[in-house]
């Protein structure tokens, strides 16, 4: 789960990581009151779950109330990569001497926590990683309830000589690490971490992603959830035991298993079609799940054909067939449906479906993909 900059910074503050004076605002009036309280030049920042908001015009400087009003009005309601801005953060402008990037994430290869530091802060780190990867230093940190101070110092000395800055930087890393493990984050990022002209380090921006699997032990974090429409749909599907991601194509697909679902989408593409979604009904063959899955597929106006690909293992093909028949009774479906059933109880499943005129059954993935695509033309 992604959380907003302002939420991440609230968490940072609890861990005594320095952040600028700031306030979340949902309209211009609030923004002006915040501006008066901060009482100096501010930055107005769109709060949306996507990167690149700076480039999109979602961050503006304001030195007076008129500028602030203009900036806030412009940003609120703005569409940034499909995300509508509903909140802005009014944040004290800081006198920047130098900007750093500091990020913590999971190191899948070494099974540790990965610390990334770059003296090229303030720009998109993906860009730095692409253009000049040597400018990002990586450190594998062992897992623990806290980071040993000497490790944080070792990193800090790679970037600073002045002990005053070394201490602030090491301290920030130690605290970020604590945030990461305490809050079950999968990403904790400060970009930029700035040094002000007074040699103070401040987290000017903050990004945090929380591990969905760990949410049960963080009821407070779950309250920070602020999903967009697509994410809401995904979460709702998850509560039904489905893994559903909407895409732009026109062939809806329903598959059991994530790997097979991806392979199915790839197959559609391989034969010239475009998948409308990723949909994994998981390992159980509960007819309710099959019905709910059909509901998602038929609800998407882009979907012009449906391809169902089931390889029965634990999932029983006859159960899937029963679920489909139930769905056909409850949902009016006029779209062409191609089904491939294989594995456990496939024959029984096919027999059950043979009573329905709505579906065409085939015996392999590739056939299913080809047939589904052919129905579109």
């Amino acid at each position: 789960m992604k959380i907003h900059e302002y939420q991440a910074k609230e968490i940072f503050s609890r861990y005594q990581i320095c952040t600028p004076k700031e306030k979340l605002c949902i309209d211009t009036k609030e923004a002006i009151l915040a501006f008066r309280k901060i009482n100096k030049k501010v930055v107005v920042k769109a709060q949306v779950h996507t990167g690149g908001r700076g480039k999109a015009g979602g961050i503006k400087l304001a030195s007076n109330e008129k500028e602030l009003q203009m900036a806030t009005n412009t940003i609120l309601g703005m569409d940034i990569k499909g995300h509508i801005v509903e909140k802005v953060l009014i944040s004290e402008a800081v006198d920047i001497q130098k900007e750093y990037y500091v990020g913590l994430t999971i190191d899948r290869s070494n099974h540790t926590i990965l610390l990334m530091v770059s003296s090229e802060g303030g720009v998109e780190i993906e860009e730095v990683a692409r253009v000049s990867p040597e400018k990002i230093q990586k450190y594998a940190l062992p897992i623990g309830s806290s980071l040993a101070p000497f490790r944080a110092r070792e990193v800090a000395f790679d970037f600073f000589k002045d002990i005053h800055l070394v201490r602030q930087f090491a301290d920030t890393i130690e605290k970020m690490y604590k945030v990461f493990v305490d809050q079950d984050a999968s990403l904790v990022e400060i970009n930029p971490l700035v040094i002000t002209s007074k040699e103070k380090m401040i987290a000017l921006d903050a990004k945090m992603t929380i591990d969905d699997n760990a949410m049960y032990r963080h009821p407070d974090l779950d309250k920070l959830r602020d999903d967009d429409e697509d994410e809401k749909l995904e979460l709702e599907a998850k509560q039904h035991g489905l893994s559903y991601i909407k895409l732009d194509g026109n062939i809806g697909c329903m598959v059991n298993g994530a790997g097979l679902a991806m392979a199915t989408m790839d197959m559609i593409k391989l034969y010239g079609g475009t998948p409308a979604n990723f949909l994994d009904i998981g390992g159980s063959s509960n007819p309710k799940k099959v019905k709910q899955a059909m509901h998602y597929l038929t609800q998407d106006p882009n979907v012009k054909a449906i391809m169902i690909n089931i390889f029965g293992g634990i999932t029983r093909c006859d159960d899937v067939a029963h679920g489909l028949l139930q769905a056909f009774e409850e949902i009016k479906i006029t779209l062409p449906i191609v089904i491939r059933l294989s594995g456990t109880n496939a024959e029984e499943g096919l027999k059950i479906l043979s009573t329905s005129s709505k579906v065409k059954t085939v015996s392999s993935m590739s056939e299913a993909a080809k047939l589904a695509i052919s129905t579109l033309s």
Partner: protein
């Protein structure tokens, strides 16, 4: 021979009295797997499918000399169960449980490393050495004894592949579903090493997914150290960036770990990549002939 498990494996089922645990215990026993005990705190002294149930792994290992454990307990309790198994001295833990927080898995891995315990999973379907033993939730009927090893992050995609192999008369030595979580146990590299060393295995099918660079690191090993042919397949060419595709590990971030990258890497090293699952048997036959 085969790798990791065979007829001699002595297996404990952790969470044996749960719905899934009990169901799959039956299936594993039916396949001939040597299930020597189960764990269910408070149910010690009872039996499930004729298998004695113990309260703790310590007790179970002392009474059964088990060397392997399979974990069916819910995600919240699974990290503790894995550590319990490792501290009790089993050699291999297969974690079926899905949805374990990543930070927990980091801690678990540290303990496993300390004790020298191997793990398959979590969030995986387990593994099978056809004709010898199955430890997991795999549909045994599709497998056939033979000489091809298979490694995959995915469950049903594995079944699809195995089905293709078996239908074409190509049997398997050992098939391993390594799971799709960001932090997992034995992975491509370690398992390729074991397949290379296994006299029974003549070729390996590697099924990859988007996300991470485990497949790429495996490729270097295949190129430099493997004498046996490897055929690869990668799922997720159409997956969009930044979206988690079912498996927590199957996510493309920062433009790395795409299926295109992986395919290019393998083909660049001369390792054949199938465009669709149905091509696999033919590629294998060609390489083995």
């Amino acid at each position: 021979m085969s790798i990791l498990i065979d007829k001699k494996s002595r297996v404990i089922v952790q969470g044996i009295t749960g719905r899934d645990g009990a169901f799959h215990t039956k299936k594993m026993i039916e396949y001939g797997t040597h299930i020597v005990g189960g764990i269910s705190p408070g149910k010690g002294g009872t039996t499930v499918e004729g298998v004695p149930v113990y309260n703790t792994m310590q007790e179970a290992v002392l009474n059964t000399w088990a060397d392997t454990s399979i974990i069916f307990v819910p995600a919240r309790f699974a990290p503790d169960a894995i550590i319990e198994a490792s501290e009790a001295g089993v050699r291999l833990v297969i974690a079926i449980s899905e949805g374990i927080p990543v930070v927990d898995m980091l801690r678990v891995k540290a303990v496993l490393n300390k004790n020298g315990t191997s793990m398959i999973g979590p969030n995986c379907p387990g593994l099978i050495s056809p004709g010898k033993a199955m430890i997991g939730i795999l549909p045994t009927n599709i497998f056939m004894e033979g000489n091809v090893g298979l490694i995959s992050r995915s469950g049903t995609l594995t079944y699809e592949m195995v089905d293709q192999l078996t239908r074409n008369g190509i049997g398997q030595s050992t098939c391993i579903g390594i799971g799709g979580d960001p932090i997992a146990g034995l992975y491509y590299l370690e398992l390729l090493e074991q397949f290379e060393a296994d006299p029974e295995t003549k070729a390996v099918v590697l099924i990859g997914e988007i996300g991470g660079d485990a497949e790429e690191r495996a490729a270097a090993f295949i190129k430099n150290h493997m004498t046996k042919p490897v055929v690869a397949f990668f799922a997720g060419q159409t997956a969009p960036a930044g979206k988690q595709m079912g498996h927590a590990g199957a996510i493309i971030s920062s433009g790395s770990g795409t299926a295109q990258d992986k395919i290019a890497c393998y083909e660049g090293l001369g390792i054949p990549v199938a465009r669709e699952p149905e091509e696999i048997p033919e590629l294998i036959k060609k390489l083995l002939s």
